[in-house]
């Protein structure tokens, strides 16, 4: 077989090998090196950093909190994303374009700017708490800042577009005649949703969920600004180890635990998607 066009992809391959794959391999190797405070990275090999991450209650707590964050964000994205995608799929022309714009808006704003907006509304005497207190719904402010709740509120907003786009693509693929047939055969709206819409949009639910989950557990800016040091997650722990404590072997170990989670999830999702197509 002639290798037509291979020379054209070579420069970018070399660039990625040098500035992405090479550094990642270096990080992987470093994560098995011993580290001594004050003396830095040593030449001896160890798996202590990986063991420390799951054996130490404090670090295990961070791992579990990060996974919980991923699950909560994904669940909320599904709950809020479904009506959005369903609404989108029923619109045509300008209304659809407008709603599409609203859905995409979070992706069109930089992470710091978006998080800053949430910090203003979510603070103890921010808009949300003041409104709820004025309305008499609550007596004392809900603690959004420096709590899991605030991180979830802000993260769902930015990750929702990915879920809606995945669901929208799945819903568009459903032949409208299927709905007509079901309705003509006397199925109720709820039954149509549960027995037709939901199963047929399963591939979209799956790909959207995997994407949102992986982006949620690797997010840094939102947990760092809204959670702060009181609510550490894996990403902020990696940053702290890398930039303040300079314990690169441990930071590397956490990074690879995160990467492994992401890769395993993607492999499972791909496998499920293949089975889905096979039936």
């Amino acid at each position: 077989m002639r290798q037509k066009g291979a020379a054209l992809v070579l420069p970018n391959f070399a660039w990625l090998a040098l500035f992405m794959l090479g550094p990642l391999i270096t990080l992987f190797v470093i994560s098995f090196r011993t580290y001594e405070a004050g003396r830095g990275i040593q030449d001896a090999w160890t798996i202590a950093h990986y063991v420390a991450f799951v054996a130490d209650p404090y670090h295990l707590g961070i791992l579990l909190r990060t996974l919980r964050l991923g699950i909560e964000v994904t669940a909320w994205c599904l709950v809020l994303g479904f009506p959005m995608a369903y609404g989108l799929s029923r619109l045509r022309g300008t209304p659809r374009a407008l709603l599409y714009f609203v859905v995409l808006l979070p992706l069109l704003t930089s992470a710091v700017v978006r998080t800053f907006g949430w910090m203003i509304v979510l603070s103890n005497n921010g808009f949300i708490n003041r409104t709820l207190i004025d309305l008499g719904v609550i007596d004392s402010p809900i603690r959004f800042m420096y709590s899991m709740l605030g991180i979830v509120v802000a993260l769902v907003q930015v990750l929702l577009p990915f879920m809606v786009l995945a669901l929208d693509a799945a819903l568009l693929n459903i032949d409208p005649r299927v709905y007509e047939a079901a309705r003509n055969l006397g199925a109720s709206r709820l039954r149509v949703f549960l027995q037709i819409t939901l199963p047929l949009s399963l591939p979209g639910i799956l790909s959207g969920s995997v994407l949102v989950f992986t982006l949620a557990i690797s997010a840094f800016v939102t947990p760092s600004l809204i959670g702060g040091p009181r609510v550490p997650v894996m990403a902020t722990l990696i940053y702290q180890q890398g930039m303040s404590l300079l314990n690169w072997p441990f930071g590397g170990a956490i990074a690879f635990v995160m990467l492994a989670t992401v890769v395993v999830l993607f492999l499972i999702a791909m496998r499920l998607a293949r089975q889905e197509r096979g039936t």
């Binding site: 009506p83 714009f101 690169w248």
Partner: protein, 255 residues
């Protein structure tokens, strides 16, 4: 009916932070409050007169321009190879080339910090440019690939049959036809680089402040409405330049 009520509420939730940031940049109070009180242009004036903000804008512009130049060349070549070529491992190469879009930036940042520390690029401008080129090239590849898929390769064949060299064919036939894709890819790459925070945080040397780093550090302490004002400027740039491109980008993804 209930469906549209939910859609409206979720839509409001999606727009909330942007609306809040824009509104608070006009508040007359000394700190950002929502709803804003009074009206003033003062904070925009403060941003445009602040040496720190202006230096950060200049630095971000230089970084984005340099990395976009590299990404545009690498990305256009890669797209040509991926769309027109036929070689072993093509699917894997394609997946690898697009992977930086969703790769955890926090992991890449730490990996580059350690690697650059080893080869002497840590805290340098060239190091940051190299990293940003990695992050932005996939966007060029996507845009150029879409342009390439839109026109008939027979045009290129015709040029070659008429005796044009491969170089001549590229510059006189292919490049003019894919130019909209190349331009869109370059602009997209520029914005992605201009907005990038996480990898920059790891790699920036002392005194090297990008605009997102500048905003990030000011948020960690106390924030003045000038932070809202500079954020509003960023939002406006995205809305004017980014929206048309994002539509195109998503169309590409869905095909």
């Amino acid at each position: 009916m209930i469906l549209w009520l939910i859609v409206a509420l979720v839509g409001l939730y999606l727009m909330a932070p942007v609306l809040v940031v824009i509104a608070t940049s006009f508040t007359a109070t000394a700190y950002p409050v929502f709803p804003p009180q009074g009206f003033t242009w003062r904070w925009f004036g403060e941003v445009l007169a602040s040496p720190e903000y202006l230096a950060a804008m200049r630095f971000s512009t230089a970084l984005a321009a340099a990395s976009t130049a590299i990404a545009t060349v690498l990305g256009t070549l890669a797209a040509l190879g991926l769309v027109r070529g036929r070689f072993r491992g093509q699917t894997a190469i394609s997946a690898l080339f697009l992977s930086p879009i969703f790769f955890p930036a926090i992991v890449l940042g730490l990996a580059l910090l350690i690697f650059f520390n080893w080869v002497g690029l840590a805290g340098t401008f060239p190091g940051m440019v190299a990293a940003h080129a990695v992050l932005t090239t996939p966007f060029v590849i996507r845009m150029v690939s879409a342009s390439l898929a839109e026109f008939d390769p027979a045009v290129e064949e015709a040029a070659k049959n008429l005796g044009a060299s491969a170089m001549r064919t590229f510059f006189l036939v292919t490049l003019p036809l894919i130019r909209p894709g190349v331009v869109a890819g370059a602009v997209f790459a520029f914005i992605i680089s201009f907005d990038e925070l996480v990898v920059s945080l790891f790699l920036a040397g002392p005194g090297m402040q990008t605009l997102p780093i500048r905003i990030f550090t000011s948020l960690e302490y106390s924030s003045r409405p000038s932070v809202s004002a500079v954020s509003t400027l960023l939002i406006l740039v995205w809305l004017v330049v980014g929206v048309p491109l994002y539509r195109r980008f998503l169309d590409v993804r869905h095909t």
